[in-house]
């Protein structure tokens, strides 16, 4: 439905380089990346708010690169929501319906979105500033969707909300997608949001798409250290160092890859004397409970540090043990082989004290 075709944009001395994306009708594409990667610039260019130096944007095969915004039938929710501060909630929501034919259907359209987002009680509020964060979000969604746009562009829409409100809105938006069959183009730096809403994910760094594909492929099999680090896969280690520590199941070389990443939830800990034969001895430094799960911090021979994620029962068992020594094993299938980015790590390597 939406094709972004070799888009090049410059702002000051920041550039977007040859971005190609494709989004099918009713689908959801998430653009993920650290701040400053150019995500918002890409979104604004795809929407038509900025003119690209080169490249085209097509909707249903029609080139809309030069179409004025008011004729595009797309909706846009920016990070700050941009609710109109001089209008009541009702007038904010119906803002897009005052021209021509749409005006006659205002009543039903309003009823429809009001029911959809359950904001009946807010309709007569005169001052937008007194709404809570979640209420503002729902009003912004109602305003954007009242005219039944073809595509909804979202720029970090939930960044300022607390966990419970965000979780509610994510579920709202997810069920809306199914009801309305609307296409979503989502920019975010939050992994959970992308995971929850999108089928396709593109990861952007320094003005380039560095990974692009189905969500599960991108999240489970990143290809470079920079992307793996951005995806918050905590254990990223040089292959050689990993092997010399005793994990002999790690392949010595693999398509020119230099690093191996292992998710904390794929690391298995057992007590000192049990465990499979390929397990490696390690010292358990700390158990940090985090909601229903527990992070275990480990030190392996050669001062190698690893993190493991345990569920409640495993953590309780380890916590009871008198010794701080454990055996660590990692299934061969859960090793992710990574190459180092040609231009050095696009994402600065964290160093801890």
């Amino acid at each position: 439905m939406i094709h972004v075709d070799n888009l090049n944009v410059s702002v000051g001395n920041f550039n977007l380089h040859g971005v190609n994306l494709e989004l099918r009708e009713g689908g959801c594409l998430a653009i993920l990346g650290p701040s400053g990667a150019g995500k918002t610039l890409l979104l604004e260019t795809a929407m038509g708010a900025r003119r690209p130096n080169r490249g085209r944007v097509l909707i249903n095969g029609r080139n809309i690169t030069d179409l004025p915004p008011e004729l595009r039938r797309i909706a846009y929710i920016p990070q700050d929501l941009a609710l109109f501060p001089h209008l009541s909630v009702r007038r904010n929501i119906t803002f897009g319906l005052t021209s021509g034919a749409a005006r006659r259907g205002t009543g039903e359209a309003l009823d429809r979105v009001v029911a959809m987002f359950n904001i009946e009680h807010l309709l007569n509020r005169r001052v937008i500033g007194t709404l809570s964060g979640g209420e503002k979000q729902r009003v912004a969604l109602a305003r954007a969707l009242i005219a039944q746009p073809r595509v909804l562009f979202l720029d970090e829409p939930f960044a300022a909300l607390d966990a419970a409100t965000r979780a509610d809105l994510l579920r709202s938006l997810r069920s809306l997608r199914q009801t309305l069959n609307i296409t979503l183009f989502l920019v975010t730096h939050d992994l959970d949001e992308a995971c929850f809403l999108a089928e396709e994910v593109a990861i952007m760094m320094r003005g380039r798409i560095v990974e692009y594909g189905p969500r599960d492929r991108v999240f489970r099999q990143p290809r470079t250290t920079a992307v793996a680090r951005f995806l918050n896969i905590r254990n990223i280690l040089p292959i050689e160092q990993f092997r010399t520590t005793g994990f002999l199941s790690v392949k010595a070389s693999h398509d020119g890859c230099t690093h191996v990443a292992v998710r904390p939830e794929d690391v298995t800990l057992t007590e000192w004397d049990d465990g499979p034969s390929d397990a490696v001895h390690a010292r358990l430094d700390a158990l940090i409970p985090l909601g229903s799960r527990t992070i275990a911090e480990l030190t392996l021979p050669g001062s190698l540090r690893l993190e493991a994620m345990l569920n409640h029962d495993q953590a309780a068992a380890l916590g009871r043990s008198a010794s701080d020594r454990v055996r660590v094993s990692i299934p061969t299938g859960s090793m992710i082989y990574l190459s180092t980015d040609a231009g050095g790590p696009a994402y600065p390597a964290p160093v801890l004290s």
Binding site: M47, P69, E70, Y76, F84, F95, G96, S99
Partner: protein, 272 residues
């Protein structure tokens, strides 16, 4: 502990000095203005000046000033709104140069503005305009032109700041909600700019009504014809009709106060 107490004591003194010097600065500035207001009332009370307001020549000055300043400030708004909008929203080569050019009438001496206008009407195209279209020199249109220029520059400055404070994403969202550029401006930008527009109109009007240098240079001080309030003040003062002059000074001061209060109210009203 005693030492620490000493340090705290020293710190307290230094902090008091800080507060004191801030208070002195502000107190000095405020009392200067208050002394000036007191001097006006202290000189002749309010009764004699109010009586002087009944004189026909003073009424003429007040009417002429209100007429000219209102037309000048109103016309200037029509030019100032699009100019300020362009300068606030678009980036184009030469923007900074234009910005500087448009600030000149704010900072330059009104005398220089007046003389420059006289020079303009002495030139060949200027003379042609004077002869075939409208006489400016020593006439009421000259007053309006001078005040127009003085109001315009100030209005552009105020409106530019106003438009810059309005989140441009509001207009962008309005466009995606189906508004053309006119509709987006009419339904979003201008309503949000209302306090700034009121401020620009009133401040420009206030500056126009108080102008002496530019007005007197191009329109002269023709008694009963181009004597605006400031010109009439000077005429009365030099003729040692002090009550009349003070009466008009008090009129100008009251106008300034009313304008400033109205601007505050407009700005405050938008915040509720």
């Amino acid at each position: 502990m005693a030492l620490a107490g000493g340090v705290v004591g020293g710190m307290k003194l230094s902090r008091s000095l800080f507060a004191l010097s801030l208070a002195c600065g502000l107190g000095g500035a405020v009392s200067l203005v208050l002394m000036m207001l007191a001097a006006q009332i202290g000189f002749a009370g309010v009764r004699a000046p109010i009586a002087a307001l009944g004189r026909p020549d003073i009424q003429h000055a007040i009417k002429l000033s209100l007429f000219c300043a209102t037309i000048a400030a109103g016309l200037a708004m029509l030019v100032a709104i699009p100019s300020a909008y362009v300068l606030a929203r678009y980036r184009f080569p030469g923007r900074i140069l234009i910005d500087v050019l448009l600030d000149i009438p704010i900072i330059i001496s009104p005398i220089a503005i007046g003389i420059t206008l006289l020079l303009m009407f002495r030139s060949a195209p200027g003379s042609w305009v004077q002869e075939h279209l409208l006489r400016f020199v020593f006439e009421v249109p000259g007053i309006i032109l001078a005040q127009f220029i003085i109001a315009l520059a100030l209005q552009i400055r105020v409106l530019k700041a106003t438009f810059e404070e309005i989140n441009p994403r509001l207009e962008q969202v309005a466009r995606y909600l189906g508004c053309g550029p006119w509709a987006a401006m009419w339904r979003v930008t201008l309503p949000l700019a209302r306090p700034g527009m009121v401020a620009a109109l009133l401040l420009g009007w206030g500056r126009a009504i108080g102008d002496y240098g530019a007005t007197v240079t191009i329109a002269g001080s023709v008694k009963g014809k181009t004597d605006t309030i400031p010109i009439s003040i000077v005429l009365n003062w030099s003729a040692v009709r002090i009550e009349a002059a003070v009466a008009l000074v008090m009129v100008l001061t009251s106008i300034a106060l009313l304008v400033l209060l109205a601007v505050r109210l407009a700005a405050g009203g938008s915040r509720t």
